[in-house]
Symmetry: C2
Subunit: 191 residues, 2 copies
């Protein structure tokens, strides 16, 4: 028997991602986003939800491009800071000591020190209420060599991304390996 | 220096969630979804991406309601199975031994044994390509008592959700506690 806890934006796990944009003066900015997800495989698309009051909102609308950068646990402090400060009043790259690199594919910067960055062209936006959902087509991905194997992304031992828990507002690392997808459930199929 | 690895639907972490729907004959069905995310705080909304060929796609279009259920690691095998079998040919609840409970708020079932379920009314759908993005307004949430504290969701020690890694197709548990959000980055703000 479950308890009804009302209607709220509460689910786990949510990702800790960092959205990179340029502002109209070409200043690179970053904003932490846990409201987002992959939304299509072909063409590859990713969505992020952004409030109108954010500096990133204006940048998205004006530049029509963004990156989604994935920090590892060693940059949890910087990623958290990117969600606290505003690009209107702070230079978040300068304050954190991290490096903005201009994408060679889209008009947006990514964080050089984070292992993975998706380079996205804004293709749709959808006002939902407090947040607007921005959908980007992934035109390219930049990755650190040490998270890659022969055939692309390898196991997560070198790349420890992390998750955010709404409501209790805490971060947890991606941890223990559980098994292969489309595999561990096969025994149920086979009855 | 990063390596360009092309355009694909590749990001980490993605969640392992299970979408509950009724089909036109009132048979409860479940489908595993890693393509999804929160997309608005007020009204609370969540999105999931579903391929047209899925049984869930038709159910969503016809019933205009769904649940997003969050399994813990102890049901990783069942959650994986829900992504392997099709509700057209299998009764996934019967095969897995898990229990469909009808939501008292929306026209959709949730998985009784999973700790958390969001009860959603379909408010938008957006065709993107291989996947259609379905946006649901969260009208209620059901949660197991043992994952709740005084003020709602408590720490993750009793509730071990897990994540999916595209491309390498593996599951990893949510693990080590890293710190409080809007807090661990404060020292950078204070320079």
């Amino acid at each position: 028997m479950k308890k009804s806890i009302g209607a709220k934006a509460l689910i786990v796990p949510t990702p800790v991602w960092v959205v990179g944009t340029y502002d109209p003066d070409d200043k690179p900015n970053v904003m932490t986003a846990a409201w987002g997800g992959i939304c299509c495989s072909k063409p590859p698309c990713v969505s992020i939800a952004v409030q109108k009051i954010r500096h990133t909102y204006n940048n998205l609308v004006k530049r029509n491009a963004f990156t989604v950068c994935v920090p590892s646990v060693r940059h949890a402090k910087e990623a958290d800071y990117f969600g606290i400060a505003s690009g209107r009043t702070a230079d978040k790259f300068a304050a954190s000591g991290l490096t903005p690199t201009k994408s060679d594919i889209v008009d947006a910067p990514y964080v050089e020190e984070f292992p993975l960055a998706l380079e996205c062209k804004l293709i749709h936006s959808h006002e939902l209420g407090l947040h607007t959902l921005f959908i980007g087509e992934v035109l390219g991905i930049k990755a650190d060599e040490d998270i890659l194997g022969e055939k692309g992304l390898r196991d997560m031992s070198k790349f420890k991304p992390f998750t955010y828990n709404p409501e209790i507002r805490t971060y947890y690392a991606v941890g223990e390996y559980l098994g292969k997808a489309f595999s561990i459930g096969q025994e149920i199929s086979q009855g």
